[in-house]
Assembly symmetry: C2
Homo-oligomer: 317 residues x 2
């Protein structure tokens, strides 16, 4: 049962801690750490790892132990909202793994963190125990500083009824893959970035499954719209980016360039190519390296035998 | 040493023969048959297999034995030019495999076919023994019917100096991955397809590394331009397709849809996405399934540790 996990740590600058986290997770058998990206402004690092569910659970638990011991939230500052040292832990099903399996992992991980590390855990998204905890932003409201007061009226799903003194609390969830994407516009006018974000995001009447935020920093004379696609099969990447392009165009502004944050599922890559090239279809078994990988984490991967096509041939033209 | 091989058989309709070819190649250890596509009009089938070079060589040799025995060129007809029962055998290096390794495989495969199966072999592309045999179209000139006369003045690289009575001759080569692509236009006017193909292909002043041919059949009221990209890192997919779009637009015609023939390297998929989404960069280790596969056939695949980014975060927005 293949899963991906993307723990978000509230430390973006201390290389010693980040390397310790990386090594701790990498050492666990059956797991691949696919990346660790630290962000200075946010003072936050995002790790991506994948493998069999059990192995991933153990690897993230080992990294959580390091984070709780080494990241002190009473001294941490940064522009990004956070509840704890290891702030957010989403489990994501890959390939044919069902969401129920990722939910089960999240519950078992949350229980272990609460009981063994003494850190209170709130379950969110598909693992949420109540509707009002589904949205991560709601779970994180009040942040680390507001935790003690909030926990008196809003007890966690696992662990003690008060915050861990230095590690705070943790949001643990199960969700579908998320695509995070930054779009840089050819302007330094923050009002335009805000207008574009407002038009594109679902919460203010834009695209379903799209979260968008105008960043309040200007980088090399360019404003930035950050996009999260939380339901990419329903609202694919090209739909979002082309809407950004059109809305920016209303102000005479274009897209200068874009940037992928973290990882992308192969299916999103193939869906995007189908859109732009007007391909009638494209499947994993038509991409050499995906066809070769041929494992449980590749969706619908089979050798193809097609007889009876018309008028095309590889070595033909 | 990972390689791909794409043998083209001169049989597109007889399911018994095609299944025999498929099973023969599939049974060999260390090889994956990624596809077999038969084409009725061309009376031709294209197999794609990959694995370690030695294993691939043995599997294609086994399939060649079947093809020489079961496909009779004296009775074969079809719209596609061909020299023999197993017409073309290109070896393609994957990932970090050097071209020289694919050339060596082609030479050893050709020698075995010539000596063991008694079929004359012409080496082409990177394996060519002379400049005038580099181009496959030149090697195939005169076809099966013209072989006996041609071989008297143009002896093969391996095997007998006369055609095999039923299996003809074989072109064996080494080349970079080829992308084959059909574009359907919103018109039934063949003259437009011809004008577009002429404008786009390198041989008549268009794009370097692009071969284009207007198919002389109309399918559901749509003409078709077939594209082969023989040097896709230099001339990528979007460059070719956008030039087709522009040239068709001169006649008030649009692209109705496109169709990928055979397989596509992951790098071409990623390069295309970078083009359309204006991504500053995109690498194999940013695609979950490619990062997980993490084998020799994935180019430049490493776990990424990035510290010091600014203003982005996966669970941020």
């Amino acid at each position: 049962m293949w899963v991906e996990c993307i723990p978000n740590f509230s430390e973006g600058t201390d290389k010693k801690i980040l390397e310790h986290l990386f090594i701790t997770a990498s050492e666990r058998p059956g797991v691949r750490v696919l990346g660790l990206e630290g962000d200075v402004d946010h003072n936050r690092a995002v790790m991506t790892l994948a493998g069999d569910g059990e192995a991933v659970l153990q690897a993230v638990l080992a990294a959580a132990t390091v984070a709780v011991r080494e990241i002190d939230l009473t001294r941490q500052t940064g522009t990004h909202p956070r509840l704890g040292s290891l702030d957010v832990v989403p489990f994501v099903p890959l390939g044919s793994t069902p969401m129920a399996y990722a939910v089960d992992l999240a519950e078992r991980f949350g229980k272990a963190v609460g009981e063994d590390l003494g850190v209170p855990v709130y379950l969110y998204e598909h693992a949420a125990s109540r509707p009002e905890r589904k949205n991560l932003a709601d779970v994180r409201r009040g942040q680390f500083e507001g935790l003690a007061a909030r926990m008196r009226v809003d007890p966690p799903d696992f662990g003690p009824g008060a915050p861990h003194p230095t590690a705070g609390a943790m949001a643990v969830g199960a969700r579908f893959p998320l695509i995070a994407f930054n779009v840089f516009l050819t302007t330094d006018d923050l009002a335009i970035a805000r207008a574009v974000a407002r038009a594109v995001r679902g919460s203010s009447g834009g695209l379903v499954g799209v979260k968008a935020l105008a960043m309040d920093t200007v980088h090399r004379g360019r404003v930035q719209v950050s996009l999260n696609l939380v339901d990419y099969p329903t609202t694919p990447l090209p739909t979002a980016i082309e809407m950004v392009r059109r809305e920016a165009g209303r102000f005479g502004v274009a897209i200068a360039e874009t940037e992928l944050v973290g990882l992308l599922p192969a299916q999103a890559l193939m869906d995007s190519l189908r859109y732009y090239l007007q391909l009638s279809h494209l499947e994993a078994n038509q991409v050499v390296e995906l066809a070769l990988a041929g494992s449980d984490y590749i969706p619908a991967n089979q050798s193809s035998l097609h007889f009876g096509g018309h008028g095309h041939s590889e070595e033909g033209v």
